[in-house]
């Protein structure tokens, strides 16, 4: 894509999300969502193969449907309250419709089917933008309407999401699909705590974005999209294999890494509100996620995978790839636990 066009399109993606974040009028929020969706389609279609076009079409169809549902919810809210301000919505029909629309945009169960297929069909850099930046706008709207959402609906979607995210990723070897199922599970964790403490949802979002960005950038260094190509990394970038270990364990939520902070806080908040079964259940299903992260680390870092002899003797080149921000992301994804009181007050 020519640089001027890429600049204009990326700036529209960013300004669409920013319009959603700073709006107080429902119409401009909807406009922001549409701008964002329209402008990210060519980014998803960077390579012109049928797989990428199919993925972009699926993304467009689901997101357009979700925008239409959001518009229906906005219209019903306008009809029943007579105003366009983003305040709490007393009517359950409008509130539930908006929650379902935002769940479709986020990829929560039972609307999660598009996430692995779209993430698999697009290049790694597009998948990075899809799984991190695109989550910001719907979660900000959910944060604003969280007092009037239906807790039963949100808890049901959270339960299904952590289950689907855990079970779906178990049999995958493709890295993009693994990260897609990881995204579904993390969205489930975020939604579970929204009715009780929306600040923790933002905390989980920030830490999840840092970890997923770090993971995608590490994979992009080697241009690896399968577990097999990750397993050849011990010879090329031995340092990166150790970093993959830390990032994967952080994504799995193990102390003393940063990924433990949101899980700890969310379980704490759930138990404070007497949702003990939910907290236990979510902690157990996080083990499913941990299993496939561990499998990736096992293949990458902890073992020298069987390969042909020719793969064991590679030319040792110096790294010429641009690794902007990668050290910062890795440090944030692993060493933030002592600063957790400060982060809670920041958000």
């Amino acid at each position: 894509m020519k640089p001027p066009i890429l600049t204009i399109i990326m700036s529209t993606v960013i300004s669409g999300t920013i319009m959603v974040l700073i709006s107080s009028h429902w119409l401009t929020i909807w406009i922001g969502f549409e701008m964002n969706m329209l402008a990210i389609i060519p980014i998803l279609m960077k390579k012109f193969n049928p797989r990428a076009m199919e993925a972009s079409t699926k993304y467009f169809l689901t997101q357009a449907t979700a925008s239409m549902l959001l518009m229906l919810g906005i219209t019903i809210n306008l009809l029943l309250t007579g105003q366009w301000a983003v305040l709490n919505m007393p009517d359950p029909i409008a509130s539930n419709m908006m929650t379902v629309a935002l769940a479709m945009k986020l990829g929560l169960s039972p609307f999660h089917f598009w996430v692995p297929e779209v993430t698999q069909g697009i290049p790694l850099s597009s998948g990075m933008i899809l799984l991190t930046w695109q989550k910001i706008a719907p979660l900000s709207i959910l944060y604003q309407i969280s007092p009037s959402t239906n807790p039963n609906l949100l808890m049901a979607m959270a339960t299904m999401s952590v289950l689907m995210g855990g079970w779906g990723g178990l049999n995958q070897t493709q890295l993009r699909k693994i990260l897609a199922y990881s995204s579904i599970a993390h969205m489930g964790w975020m939604i579970a705590v929204t009715t009780y403490n929306p600040t923790l949802m933002l905390l989980n979002l920030v830490i999840y974005i840092m970890m997923t960005l770090g993971a995608f950038m590490l994979f992009m260094l080697n241009s690896s999209t399968t577990t097999l190509s990750l397993s050849h990394m011990w010879n090329k970038f031995p340092l990166i294999t150790s970093l993959i270990l830390t990032i994967m364990l952080s994504l799995g939520g193990l102390p003393p890494l940063s990924g433990f902070i949101p899980k700890w806080m969310i379980i704490h908040e759930l138990t404070k509100n007497n949702m003990i079964i939910m907290a236990t259940f979510m902690a157990i299903t996080a083990l499913l996620n941990l299993y496939f992260y561990m499998r990736l680390t096992y293949a990458t870092t902890l073992t020298l995978f069987p390969s042909m002899n020719i793969m064991k003797m590679k030319w040792q080149f110096e790294n010429t790839k641009n690794t902007t921000l990668l050290p910062l992301l890795i440090v944030i994804s692993t060493m933030l636990l002592p600063l957790s009181p400060m982060m809670l007050t920041l958000l």
Partner: protein, 177 residues
């Protein structure tokens, strides 16, 4: 007499929506889309929005749908699917029509019975004559259009930018290679 005109236009509106929702070939879908667009303009016109109705007729139907029709005609197949040629399309069409009919009969049960679906309906009169309040001697539609260019400057800028992005995205997507 006027309420009957609006009623008939609404019926044709809904039937053509069901017509393209049952997914025939895009040529026929575009045909009923044009019909529904034209009839929708008629409904807007009958509520006093003469400027907006004519704008939609000219720009939407006369510009965008014509271009859509030409591109679909270039990409169509030898035997496009019509509503009666495929049992799935026919079935969807009939199911859609029946559900609309049942919904209308349920909501318009009687002239004195109040039915609440999302809002309260009280017979056919409540539906066809929809009054949102009195604005005095000025046409609400003209006030709205004037407000778009005075208070709504940011909206105009955003809309113009979105249209530009739409064109760039479409050119980028269809470039291929």
């Amino acid at each position: 007499m006027m309420t009957y005109v609006v009623f008939i236009l609404s019926v044709i509106f809904v039937v053509s929506f069901v017509g393209f929702s049952s997914k025939p070939s895009p040529i026929y879908g575009g045909l009923v889309l044009i019909v529904s667009g034209a009839v929708g303009c008629g409904i807007v016109l009958s509520f006093g929005g003469s400027f907006l109705g004519l704008m939609v007729f000219l720009i939407y139907l006369g510009g965008m749908l014509v271009v859509f029709g030409y591109t679909t005609a270039m990409a169509t197949e030898q035997y496009p699917e019509v509503w009666v040629s495929n049992k799935a399309v026919l079935g969807a069409f009939i199911v859609g029509l029946l559900s609309e009919l049942l919904a209308a009969c349920y909501i318009l049960k009687g002239d004195d019975v109040e039915v609440e679906v999302v809002l309260k309906f009280n017979g056919a009169g409540d539906w066809v004559i929809y009054d949102t309040g009195d604005s005095g001697f000025f046409s609400e539609e003209a006030m709205g259009i004037a407000a778009l260019y005075s208070y709504g400057t940011w909206l105009v800028i955003v809309t113009g930018w979105s249209l530009l992005i739409g064109v760039l995205v479409i050119m980028e997507v269809t470039r291929g290679n």
